[in-house]
């Protein structure tokens, strides 16, 4: 074996060269990591300067998904649109949407995450009243602007400095319903609500305002939000000889109660809350939806508004954009997110990138034309809409139409 002595040498040489290569590789790797690190330190703030982070906490899935899903879609559409036009004052929007699934606990942790970790400029949402009330204080303490897409009056009453909301107040909805009842000469009514934050808030408003309009609530009931059939409940209403029924909920029971009333022959007018403003419920209730009366923003009847109505161009544009992009009908709920987002964008355009100044700009904003109505904010009113932002609508041939009084 002539090569015998050579072998260990060759082996050593080879291992050394391999080690050499490895060491070299390691060095390159280290340098790269270092370079990347330095690069990230230098460049990230530069990148960050060109974007503005806007957080959103929305119930994209779960029981309130019909609120959160269109809201999230609307925000994505708007952020893309604004970014493609160069952003706000040269800064691109970085939208961070968190899906809370309508759980107040999740909303709280997402709010903290968005404020403390992501350091967002402002928060859009949450979608539901319960969630908003839970994070109201968190936003207030951290001085983060929060524009809620939820309805309950408690969100802005008492006023919190940094908390705003875009949907119409529920007391206006209750007043609109009672005004309509007065016109129709209805005196004895039954009130039924779903056991959600929205339902309970509505029940309180209805009970508080009834005497003002000379209306007597002869029966008032709360049903489970997951109710699958309400025949027994409408039987109870029938026994009380009510002249009209008001249902206040945001769950599929809105359609179920309409069916059950017709099925057992309780043929009195059915009023729903502004939570009925989703054509899917009309489809679900089918023939039973005909004649339901409810207050809603004008988005649902945008095409029927007179041409000189100030909201018409905004409504038509939003509706077309949304429907052509997502191939589903626009709802008032997506509109609430539209309003929240555009109010924020306009305030930033006006006041720059200082949170305090933007907050002041929102508080002093007057005459902003949104999908929900014409917003006139003030230090006392962080909603900015008046009762005329509601129209009374009804369902005719499976479509929403303006209610015509004879």
């Amino acid at each position: 074996m002539p090569c015998k002595g050579l072998v260990p040498e060759v082996e050593r040489y080879m291992t050394e060269s391999i080690n050499e290569k490895r060491r070299f590789g390691m060095r390159v790797f280290r340098v790269l990591i270092l370079a990347l690190f330095i690069f990230s330190i230098v460049v990230t703030p530069a990148l960050a300067k060109d974007t503005i982070k806007i957080g959103a906490i929305l119930a994209v899935t779960g029981p309130a998904s019909f609120l959160g899903a269109p809201e999230a879609k609307t925000l994505q559409m708007l952020a893309e649109e604004i970014n493609s036009q160069g952003g706000i004052n040269g800064k691109k929007i970085e939208l961070i949407i968190k899906d809370s699934g309508a759980s107040p606990e999740k909303a709280i942790s997402f709010a903290k995450q968005l404020i403390e970790e992501e350091k967002v400029f402002a928060i859009i949402g949450p979608s539901t009243s319960g969630e908003t009330l839970k994070i109201k204080n968190i936003c207030e303490k951290s001085k983060t602007i929060c524009i809620s897409c939820a309805a309950a009056e408690l969100i802005v009453n008492p006023v919190a400095k940094y908390v705003f909301k875009t949907p119409q107040k529920d007391s206006f909805a209750a007043r609109k319903i009672y005004m309509q009842m007065q016109k129709m000469g209805i005196k004895r009514i039954g009130v039924v609500v779903g056991n959600t934050g929205f339902g309970k808030a509505g029940k309180a408003q209805l009970e508080k305002l009834a005497p003002e309009y000379g209306i007597e609530i002869v029966i008032s009931e709360v049903y489970d939000k997951k109710a699958t059939d309400l025949t027994a409940l409408v039987t109870k209403l029938k026994a009380k000889n009510v002249e009209a029924v008001v249902n206040w909920s945001i769950v599929p029971a809105q359609a179920i109660i309409a069916k059950n009333m017709k099925q057992i022959g309780l043929n009195v007018p059915l009023f729903q809350s502004h939570g009925f403003g989703n054509i899917k419920y009309v489809k679900a209730a089918g023939a039973a939806a005909e004649g339901i009366i409810f207050p809603a923003g004008r988005l649902l009847v945008a095409d029927m508004l007179p041409d000189n109505h100030p909201q018409k161009p905004v409504l038509i544009k939003y509706k077309r954009d949304y429907e052509s992009r997502y191939h589903e009908e626009a709802s008032t709920f997506g509109g609430h997110a539209y309003d929240a987002f555009m109010i924020l964008v306009n305030a930033i355009k006006k006041a720059g990138f200082d949170k305090e100044k933007v907050r002041d700009a929102i508080e002093n904003m007057k005459g902003f034309v949104g999908t929900g109505g014409i917003f006139n904010f003030s230090p006392q009113d962080h909603n900015g809409l008046d009762i005329d932002s509601f129209e009374m609508l009804t369902v005719k041939n499976g479509k929403f139409v303006l209610l015509e009084n004879k």
Partner: protein
Amino acid sequence: MSVELFFQYIVAGITYGIIYAIVAIGFNIIYNTTGIINFAQGEFVMLGSMIAISLTPYMPLLLAIILAVIITMLIGALIEILFIRWLDSPSVLRMIIITIGLSILIREVALAIWGENVRALPYFTGNEVSSISFGGVHISPQVLWVIGVCTVMVLILQAFFKFTMVGRQMRACAANREAARLCGINAKNMVTLSFMLSAGIGAVAGCVVSPITYSQYNMGTGLAIKGFTVAILGGLGNSMAAVVAGLLLGTIESFSIWIMPTAYKDAISISILLLILFLRPGGLFGSKEEMTLKEF
């Protein structure tokens, strides 16, 4: 209270009860062959109705339902083969956890496929507002459909388990799996078959109740809880008893609404369930001796 209203409450009770019962039957089939409770049963109900709804635009209603039932049965078989079959003598607890996990999985997949929208099959007869009147008492034709389908299903199942070879084999597996295997019965195939059967029954249930309750990706949970309650109330494994228990619970709920605020409906029905179970642990129609022989 007038007689009319009294009967109207009964009708409401029947409507609730028959929906619970038709879901409860599915629980009983798997329990009968494997001794476990399949907590994904509600999801079979959801799948059946959602698939049928997706198919209706392309074919007549009946065909869509039949196809949906077949597809759901295949899904049931697939689930059993993938997740349950390879387990060697699994404990009851482990099986229960697996089925709970499966129910969450199916729900999330359904959310991804169908989204969060509320949908419904059309009414089989008439529409949302039509009702049949018996001397002032109104009943929706769809409720009659549910009652009819439920009755036929129970009768067929009874006959299947009593008079067919496969049915007897399935019962044998439930009674004593080892002994059944010694007699040459393929116990594993019987379990697969029972999953298919209960998935199919769940799908039928989902289709007939869909016009009344509406379908959504998360409809299964609520229905499964009530169905499970009724299955326990009647005595696990007994489909005929489930129907009676369902109607009983439904009627109790309905009349509780007459006396008390609607918000207490579930509290009352669950209290009554607890009371009955204290007095009769085997359910209304189960015997105590039988209970002691069962693992779960």
